[in-house]
């Protein structure tokens, strides 16, 4: 059985990110000869002195013309053990929202530093955003080791610098690997040039990393997404609640409570096209039948009576603001949380975080494009939520412009 691992990476051409991605794709036979030929042709036509592997992912006309990465690009590669989805984002501060987007679904954040330059502002920014989005694993690749003669001292110093910075963040699992993306050292297999390094190669680490326990299998959370009513003669009374399990393990016979109404019942059965399900867990998409005929609809949350999410209208959020117009106190915005959409008013803008120094600026009254900060909201009707650190699905919200429909920002409930 192959598993899926979602990786987010951020950075610029300078730190060798594109070379590393190109190598991972090439060495896992996920890079095709016609893609490579197209990249070689474009590099030649542009007069580049080398084959620019960034052209593999920079697909938009504007990106190719300007030689920059604008957006999140998704790349796919696989080994016999795992399939990988790689969200590749530009690393500059003006693309914070893209990095946040890439990190929102990632199991692992891949950071690169140039061995000659060490931990830079950009590295710290990526690490902070990955920790804010609670990406459970992080790999710091110290790249271009060939340019520092595979010097162990250089590697250890960078590793220590980063460790000291990371203690200020909530990062659970960091692995540091000395690599050369250009010559392939420690990318796919262990390199003879780093005898002092006793860890895994990058690809081996990505394949073996234990991710099953990253999900919350404790707190049952089932946001009702769609009510299945076949309305046929033989299924006249069928009423199922379809959704994707957001937490915990749900079983037939379990006592459950439907929120926000607070009505209690029991799980009669869990259905799927492929047959009945004995245990439903995240991220399975299933259909739940309840024993009692209750008024349950989209936006409701099914939980266990002795383990319920918070039901409330006042939220404290860390937000990543993604719109040109600033976020202000008393602004009225739309909220999408799990399968529920409500309206809300911003009751406070508490502080802005300087994402390079982690300094909190409490004097601010607004948050601008690409800012990260803390706000308070009051919603027009209750949400059933958990802290984001406890559950990435029931703890996250989208902030939406009610008049244009645009996505204004991403919020993580504290």
């Amino acid at each position: 059985m192959t598993e899926l691992l979602r990786v987010a990476t951020a950075g610029s051409v300078d730190d060798g990110k594109s070379t590393l991605i190109g190598r991972l794709l090439y060495d896992t036979k996920s890079l095709f000869s016609d893609q490579l030929a197209a990249v070689e042709r474009t590099s030649r036509e542009r007069g580049d002195g080398y084959v620019d592997l960034a052209l593999l992912t920079d697909g938009l006309r504007a990106e190719r013309e300007q030689g920059i990465t604008i957006d999140v690009a998704y790349r796919y590669f696989a080994t016999p053990r795992r399939s990988f989805i790689l969200a590749d984002t530009p690393g500059h501060v003006q693309y914070t929202r893209n990095m946040v987007t890439g990190a929102s679904t990632a199991d692992l954040a891949l950071l690169l530093v140039d061995a000659r330059k060490g931990v830079l502002e950009q590295t710290r920014r990526h690490a902070f955003l990955a920790s804010l989005l609670r990406v459970p694993h992080m790999v710091l690749c110290v790249n271009k080791m060939d340019l520092v003669d595979f010097d162990r001292e250089v590697f250890e110093k960078i590793k220590e610098d980063f460790r000291r910075f990371a203690t200020k963040l909530e990062i659970v699992d960091v692995t540091t690997i000395p690599i050369s993306a250009l010559s392939g050292d420690n990318v796919v297999s262990r390199s003879p040039s780093t005898p002092w390094y006793d860890g895994s190669s990058l690809l081996h680490h990505l394949e073996e990393l234990h991710i099953a326990s990253d999900r919350n299998l404790i707190d049952v959370r089932f946001p009702v997404q769609w009510v299945v009513r076949p309305r046929t003669d033989e299924l006249h009374d069928y009423r199922g609640y379809a959704g994707q399990v957001a937490g915990g393990v749900l079983k037939p016979g379990d006592d459950v409570i439907v929120l926000p109404s607070g009505l209690s019942t029991r799980v009669a059965g869990i259905d799927s096209f492929d047959g009945p399900i004995s245990e439903a867990f995240p991220p399975m998409s299933v259909t739940v039948r309840l024993e009692d005929d209750l008024d349950v609809s989209r936006g409701d949350m099914i939980a266990r009576p002795n383990n319920q999410p918070t039901v409330g209208q006042d939220l404290q959020l860390m937000v990543s603001w993604m719109a040109d117009a600033p976020l202000r106190r008393r602004a009225r915005i739309g909220i999408k949380h799990t399968t529920r959409s409500v309206r809300a008013m911003v009751t406070d803008v508490s502080y802005r975080v300087d994402i390079d120094t982690l300094h909190r600026d409490e004097s601010v009254e607004t948050l601008g494009l690409n800012d990260i900060g803390r706000i308070a909201l009051r919603t027009t009707s209750p949400l059933c939520y958990d802290p984001y650190r406890r559950n990435r699905t029931t703890g996250s919200v989208l902030l939406i412009d009610e008049s244009t429909g645009a996505t204004l920002g991403a919020g993580m409930i504290l």
């Binding site: 059985m1 899926l4 036979k29 095709f32 000869s33 016609d34 893609q35 197209a38 474009t42 593999l56 992912t57 920079d58 697909g59 938009l60 006309r61 504007a62 190719r64 604008i70 957006d71 999140v72 690009a73 998704y74 790349r75 796919y76 696989a78 399939s83 929202r97 679904t105 099953a212 999900r215 299998l217 997404q225 769609w226 299945v228 076949p230 309305r231 199922g240 379809a242 994707q244 393990v249 799927s272 096209f273 492929d274 867990f281 991220p283 399975m284 998409s285 259909t287 739309g334 999408k336 399968t339 990435r392 699905t393 996250s396 919200v397 244009t404 429909g405 645009a406 996505t407 991403a410």
Partner: protein, 304 residues
């Protein structure tokens, strides 16, 4: 289902994600439709949709834009599968639009009706007031698609604006739209060609016969193998020869190339796809060879 532990395979994860997307759209949009061409990606997409709403029927119709130059095997398959599901099938016809004088066909040699699909698609969407249209496009197919969101917004002209896409975070999809606008939804965004074939094998899905190796008279043109048909006769100097071929993609007859193959079963196709060194579109689609940004340009105009 996994035997031990609470783990899902990567195909189960991709399927669960796609089911979630189908249900979100069904819940938040008034009039969705699912583009079903009878090609392998749309066959997989249709099975996932079937699972999303089971035991109820699909809460939306199927939609096909028929260029009039489709493979007969594929059209027969399309009709058979929609009847089996009891689904309503809406067909937008390029031929009808040409006959009515609404479109002018480029009849020069080498021209295809690919470009003409876009206005017919947009007219069909407008006539039926569809506000969400599911498509089977995958991000691994093409560079412009690698940057497209799962919910791809189209303005009242059906245009895609790649620089002005909504950020898409977690599994929270923002479906707000104004009257006249619609979205294209790509539930299989994160699937690869190999995932599609593995899913076809896992689900034992029926697919049109032309995906498997068969003997056909073909000509070699611009490095591609083209079937000899009344629409694509050999040109002067071209010699038609029978070869063992199969199709990796199924589009318009005039611009879809075949690949040499002996793969006669799903398992043999999977082995072949796993070993191939050329992308699906690079091998078989003349329409993508126009320029490096051909797909982006067509999508901006409202293409799938």
């Amino acid at each position: 289902m996994p035997v031990t532990g609470y783990e899902l395979s990567h195909l189960e994860m991709l399927e669960a994600e796609a089911i979630h997307i189908f249900r979100e759209v069904a819940a938040e949009f008034e009039r969705p439709a699912l583009l079903f061409s009878g090609g392998k990606d749309s066959i997989v997409m249709l099975r996932v949709a079937e699972k999303a709403f089971w035991p109820a029927k699909l809460p939306f119709p199927l939609l096909h834009i028929d260029t009039g130059h489709n493979f007969p095997e594929v059209l027969a398959f399309r009709d058979h599968r929609s009847a089996e599901l009891g689904a309503r099938l809406v067909v937008g016809s390029v031929q009808t639009a040409i006959d009515a004088g609404e479109l002018t066909e480029d009849t020069r040699p080498g021209a295809s009706r690919n470009q003409l699909q876009t206005p017919v698609l947009l007219d069909t969407i407008a006539e039926n007031r569809f506000d969400a249209v599911f498509g089977g496009a995958r991000r691994d197919e093409e560079k412009a698609r690698a940057k497209e969101r799962v919910y791809s917004f189209r303005d009242e002209f059906g245009q895609w604006d790649p620089k002005n896409q909504r950020p898409e975070l977690w599994s929270l999809y923002n479906g707000r739209h104004r009257p006249g606008e619609h979205i294209r939804v790509f539930p299989l965004s994160n699937w690869t060609e190999l995932d599609i074939w593995r899913y076809i094998a896992q689900e034992r899905l029926e697919i049109p016969s032309i995906y498997y190796a068969h003997s056909r008279d073909v000509i070699e043109r611009d490095g591609m193998l083209l079937a000899v048909t009344p629409l694509t006769p050999p040109r002067a100097g071209e010699i038609a020869l029978p070869r063992q071929i199969r199709y990796r993609t199924v589009g318009d007859i005039t611009c879809t190339g075949a690949v040499e193959s002996t793969a006669a079963t799903v398992e043999e196709v999977i082995a072949e796809v796993a070993a191939t060194r050329i992308t699906e579109r690079g091998a078989t689609r003349a329409d993508d060879r126009v320029s490096e940004a051909a797909m982006e340009d067509r999508k901006r105009e409202g293409y799938f």
